[in-house]
């Protein structure tokens, strides 16, 4: 009877060890996972800046469902460059409404962002965090994170 139990115990211990190893591997992968370079990501939409901003200003619920949490390429003429901590953000502004889209750059693309000037035609790819109406400014604004310039 005892002899029959031991192979079963060994099998259970072996299975347990395999499961623990798999769980540890998954935990390690999840804990150390990093966002990839946005430059290497495929954009789900490519849009013109002013049309994009107006889409949010007209109906931000619909625009958020369409664009939020997605990689988007936005093409337009730079309206403003604003100091942000030790780096800069780039903005496209719809002068008709003051609504704007603002782009914060990924660590490895900060230097290229600093080389951009107001009036430059640029193409920026980034992760869209969606649009929100600002009570402070009284206008719609759309934010992007982890951006890169398309060259």
């Amino acid at each position: 009877m005892t002899k029959q139990k031991r192979p079963m115990l060994k099998k259970m211990l072996g299975t347990g060890l395999v499961l623990v190893t798999i769980a540890a591997g998954i935990y390690w992968y999840v804990a150390t996972e990093k966002f990839s370079d946005t430059k290497d990501r495929k954009a789900e939409f490519t849009v013109k800046a002013i049309d994009f901003i107006r889409e949010f200003a007209n109906n931000d619920s619909a625009a958020n469902r369409k664009y939020a949490d997605k990689i988007i390429t936005v093409n337009g003429t730079v309206s403003e460059i604003e100091a942000a901590d030790t780096t800069v953000n780039i903005k496209f502004i719809d002068t008709a409404s003051s609504a704007y889209a603002i782009f914060a750059f990924q660590e490895q693309h900060l230097a290229e962002a600093k080389s951009v000037k107001v009036g430059d035609s640029v193409s920026i790819k980034g992760s869209c965090s969606g649009g929100v109406f600002s009570e402070i400014l009284g206008t719609e604004y759309i934010t992007f994170k982890r951006c890169a310039l398309n060259k």
Binding site: E82, S129, G130, V132, L137, Y141, T143
Partner: protein
């Protein structure tokens, strides 16, 4: 007319707010948001901040997902953090004269739709008509209905440190 020279609202759309909930068990839960809107009215002493929650940037995709998820910040339902307050002692800051001023702002911090009164120590630097603001403080996650296994297990700090910096023009 003379008094109105400095009676104006200074703003930025690129203030930075950093969130650090790291512990000795986990160095991952920290993020920053560099697209925060900030405004100071130099006449009334009112101070306002507004951040799109989804634009907090984590290094780790899973942590960012949890941060925005239903159990944590639920950013789909509560898309912004806001602070609306005033400089406690407005006479402690002379916006008409270059200098560095230690001060405090008191107001309502709204996180996940829950509003709490907070008092935040900070520094205001006035230079050539521009204003820089910096502040460091902590919030208790429990005050805003945020809890869970990672907090109980010591992997997320119960009182994350918040750092604010802004250059207003």
């Amino acid at each position: 007319m003379i008094g109105s020279v400095f009676a104006q609202k200074k703003t930025t759309t690129s203030a930075t707010v950093s969130f650090d909930a790291t512990t000795s068990l986990d160095s991952g839960p920290k993020a920053d948001n560099k697209t925060v809107i900030a405004a100071i009215d130099t006449q009334t002493g009112s101070v306002q901040f507004e951040a799109n929650v989804k634009n907090f940037t984590f290094a780790n995709p899973t942590m960012q997902g949890h941060f925005n998820g239903d159990k944590w910040l639920n950013s789909n339902e509560f898309p912004t953090f806001t602070f609306k307050g005033n400089i406690v002692d407005k006479s402690s800051v002379n916006f008409a004269q270059d200098g560095s001023y230690k001060t405090e702002a008191e107001g309502i911090l709204s996180v996940k739709g829950i509003e709490k009164k907070v008092k935040v120590p900070g520094t205001i630097v006035v230079k050539g008509g521009n204003i820089s603001v910096s502040a460091n403080f902590s919030i208790a996650l429990a005050d805003y209905g945020i809890s869970g296994v990672p907090v109980d297990a010591g992997k997320v700090a119960k009182q994350p440190k918040i750092t604010v910096s802004a250059e207003l023009k």
